[in-house]
Amino acid sequence: MKAAAVRVLLVEDSFSDAVLLQESLAQPGLGGFDFTHVECWAEAVQCLRQKQFEVLLLDLSLPDITGRDTFLRARAEAPHLPIVVLTGETNEAVGLEAVRHGIQDYLIKGQAYGRQTARAIRYAIERKQAEETLKRTEEALRSSERQLREWNSELERRVAERTASLEETISDLEDFSHSITHDLRAPLRAIRSFAQILGEECLACGRSRAQEHIERITSAAARMDKLIQDVLQYSRLARSELKLVPVDVQGLLRSIIETYPAFQPPHVEIQIEGPLPRLLGNEAALTQCFSNLLGNAIKFVAPGTRPQVRVWAERVGNPKAEIRNPKEGRRPKSEERHEPLPAETDQLPVTNCQSPATQHATRNTPQPPALHSFNPQGSTLNHMVRLWFADNGVGIPKEAQERIFKMFQRLDKSCDGTGVGLTVVRKAVEKMGGRMGLESEPGRGSRFWVELKGAADQPG
């Protein structure tokens, strides 16, 4: 394929040099050049503005400009045009300088016009094109970087904005719950207190019926107060970030039992089938959970029954078991396979602790599975551990078992309770990366379980 003639603007004031150059390049086989010849810089500028050229051949000593000014002006006038300067034999240095200032090449006048010159011109064009491409790429890169920086700062600004708005929301919520504490509880304080004063006065006057009515007012107000406190506690818990540390649950349970006379004999019998492992949790949240679970366990018993509660731990069978989202609903029983905590070794076969045999053995006395002891020497790291709280209470029918975790749900209105306790437990357990559930049948007691991550064993 024959290449199109290269469009050259030749700026040369010496007529003979110009002719010599044009003729030498007109030889066949050099690809063809289409010359426009002018004799001074002013004319060159006009041409450059009117016509498209592919290369500029520029003599450095023109009538209206000479030396380095010539190529500097030319470069500025046509920044994207390949330029080859023509220098005299005596000042090759200017040619080199020109190259350093973005001129593609220089030719020494009178030397080797012809094939070499043609090649130099074509190379100059190629070189300039490559430079231009590189420049465009660099420019694109710089602009991408700029864009990236802009996006980044925009993103940072937005994050800061959202964070500020979230912080504001949280602080609003805190103000809200504080105002609940103050403003909702203040009238209750008045109702309770004055009803009590009135009750004492009625008692002094011997008006026992009136006193009974006043007692109802007092207890209703007390209940309302408890409800507000429970809901506040739930909302605080839901908002708070729980710091998880290894907790000695056995010690914690014992101290809870020691603190509350209601958890002690002769009223009730709470047995900890230890040793219990250390678990990753938050002590305050766990105290809340255990108190609520034990409180429920002893509260909901048939009349005349002495509450009995047993607590034990077992390792969940599959160490890689995912923490299930409670919204996904309960897994079928058959999947819930657990391994009793090892007595001697970690490598016990996986068994289903709720085998029919165990279930039948469970009458009104809670029965832990045959193998329930926990070996404190065995590593529990990264294992889920299930704590069981089994009672001899009235039990909960299947259809009500999900409902009891909802706020304000009470199955037995005769017992005092706000219907918030289990909601709080479930939220706290989820906040600690665990889950909870229960197994129960009416008349056969309930077994609530709480599953949490095992902590590394205490050194020594």
Binding site: H178, T181, H182, R185, A186, L188, R189, A190, R192, S193, F194, Q196, I197, A222, D225
Partner: protein, 156 residues
């Protein structure tokens, strides 16, 4: 028992009645004087306007100060007391329903002598009345003058 007046600054009438009730049961009901807002507290302590008669409105030996008050908040009252040369030693006990750590810290920073959270049950309020009586009127020694000579630098 020291015989002093206790000034209770409280806008909730029921809270005033309840404290009056339990202080009476504790045997010190006569010592209670009450004002309903921060500005009135300032007038009372300064002996201004309706409180000019010190026989009826004696300078208290102890102030029980609610924080959530109309016009002037409890904090403002406390700050005012602490920069008033004639009152700077006056013991001030915050008595509020707020258990906010921020409020507690701010109260002590402003020079509160104690911080009590209002109990919700009457029985607890009775216990608190007895504790107030025992601590402030029996065990605690109060300064003979509330004012401070000008040479003593004010509290920060």
């Amino acid at each position: 028992m020291t015989s002093i007046a206790i000034l209770y600054v409280e806008d909730e009438e029921t809270d005033v009645m309840l404290l009056q009730h339990v202080l009476t049961k504790a045997g010190i009901g006569n010592s209670l004087r009450t004002v309903k807002d921060g500005k009135a507290a300032k007038d009372y302590l300064a002996g201004d306007g309706p409180f000019a008669d010190r026989r009826l409105h004696p300078l208290p030996g102890l102030v029980l100060l609610d924080l959530n008050l109309p016009y002037w908040s409890g904090f403002e009252v406390l700050e005012w007391i602490r920069q008033e040369p004639q009152l700077r030693r006056l013991p001030v006990v915050i008595f509020t329903s707020s258990s906010r750590p921020d409020d507690i810290a701010r109260a002590y920073d402003a020079g509160a002598n104690a911080y009590l959270v209002k109990p919700n049950a009457l029985a607890d309020l009775s216990t608190l009345a007895l504790a107030l009586r025992d601590f402030w009127l029996i065990h605690n020694r109060l300064p003979t003058t509330l004012g401070v000579p000008p040479s003593v630098p004010p509290v920060a």
